[in-house]
């Protein structure tokens, strides 16, 4: 059967993707970020993850407001890098796993009553692509398959923090009902504190970020209770996307082991990384 072996929370920052492509891993302004991912990548290699379920959001790359899904997921064979306005990143399309993905779609819709928009063609932007090559090798080819699960955290009304938590629980059910042996990591990306618009542009809150990273490990229910307004006041308007980390945590065992974390906030965004081991599977 399918097993969740790891949960990962990670920021997704477009400038970090560009820095990666430009080979700035050791530049002083970027080194604390990229170095922070290395222990996670090493641990994940040993954990032999087959598929990563990415709870992320699209940023005006693939989805437009003509039809804007609250929850969408990919069932494709592969996912090309999106053109976000500066040309697609020089990365190979990321492999998918249609059989597993369709099983997840079946389970989410039928068993858990999460009515997903199901996508057979989907380009992926920095919401997925920024953390991906920092966690799994992409050369000579991708060492991971993905299932993108895109969440509307852009156009209100947004799904609630609690809804993301339940989505995580539903994903666990889907993974564990898969008949084949597959080792799965679940990721929630986005945040941490940042605000990118209005006079409050540049707002950040390191204390909130650090408390969030603590609480999501040991007291996630507290974060599930918070409203969008709470997230936006404490973390900045665009930090409301932090609710996607709750999707990851909801998919994990109640007790988890903290394997690794990193935090770096040099400019606009509090950039966090959290790697959790599922204790039910070890």
């Amino acid at each position: 059967m399918g097993r969740i072996v790891a949960g990962i929370g990670s920021s997704h920052v477009p400038a970090a993707g560009a820095a990666f492509d430009q080979g700035k891993q050791d530049a002083p302004e970027w080194k604390p970020l990229f170095d922070g991912y290395r222990p996670a990548m090493d641990w994940l290699r040993e954990a032999h993850v087959d598929v990563a379920i990415f709870i992320y959001n699209d940023h005006g790359s693939e989805f437009f407001f003509d039809k804007y899904p609250t929850f969408a997921m990919g069932v494709a064979k592969s996912y090309p890098p999106a053109d976000e306005g500066w040309g697609p990143r020089p990365l190979d399309p990321v492999p998918g796993d249609p059989g597993f993905s369709w099983h997840v779609a079946e389970s989410l819709v039928r068993e858990s009553e999460f009515d997903m928009t199901v996508c057979q063609e989907l380009s992926v932007d920095h919401g997925l692509l920024m953390p991906l090559p920092l966690l799994w090798s992409h050369q000579p080819e991708w060492d991971i398959k993905v299932v993108p699960v895109a969440v509307n955290v852009v156009q209100h009304p947004l799904p609630t923090a609690r809804r993301l938590w339940k989505l995580g629980q539903a994903l666990r059910k889907a993974v564990e009902s898969y008949p084949e042996d597959v080792r799965v990591a679940v990721l929630g990306t986005g945040g941490l504190s940042h605000q990118l618009h209005g006079e409050r542009f540049g707002f950040r809150n390191e204390e909130w970020d650090r408390r969030f990273m603590e609480r999501i490990v040991s007291r996630p229910e507290e974060l599930v209770e918070l409203s969008h307004h709470d997230y936006m006041v404490q973390g900045g308007a665009e930090a409301v996307e932090m609710i996607m980390w709750l999707g990851m945590r909801g998919a994990m065992s109640p007790e988890v082991k903290l394997v690794h974390q990193n935090y770096y906030a040099p400019m606009l965004t509090g950039m966090g990384l959290l790697l959790l081991e599922d204790t039910a599977s070890s």
Partner: protein, 120 residues
Amino acid sequence: MSETRQDLAKIEGTYVFDGAQSSKGYRLNKFFFSLNRAENRAAYKEDPEALMERFGLTDWEKRKLREKDWLALAREGGANIYFMYKMGSVTGDSLQHIGAAFRGETLEEFLSTRKVKGAR
């Protein structure tokens, strides 16, 4: 926890991208979204007025874009920042440029509030 739209409206210097904003900003955001395609970026660089016209932007929207009045575009125009910052690919304005303008600061003034200049 349920919350009303009024709750969401109360954060200073923040224009929550809700249904009203998205309806108002539909044309503008569609125009920004078009910049995901290389041919539209080339078309803008060739003749910005023609691309704005093709997307049916109003005179106010065109004027605010020419003036780079990013705050008015977000606040009154319903522009979403994730879409609007794609303008940088054709005008050269970085997200920090746009952000400094939101705050009524120069880029240098804004950067002086940050720890590390190159990252974000």
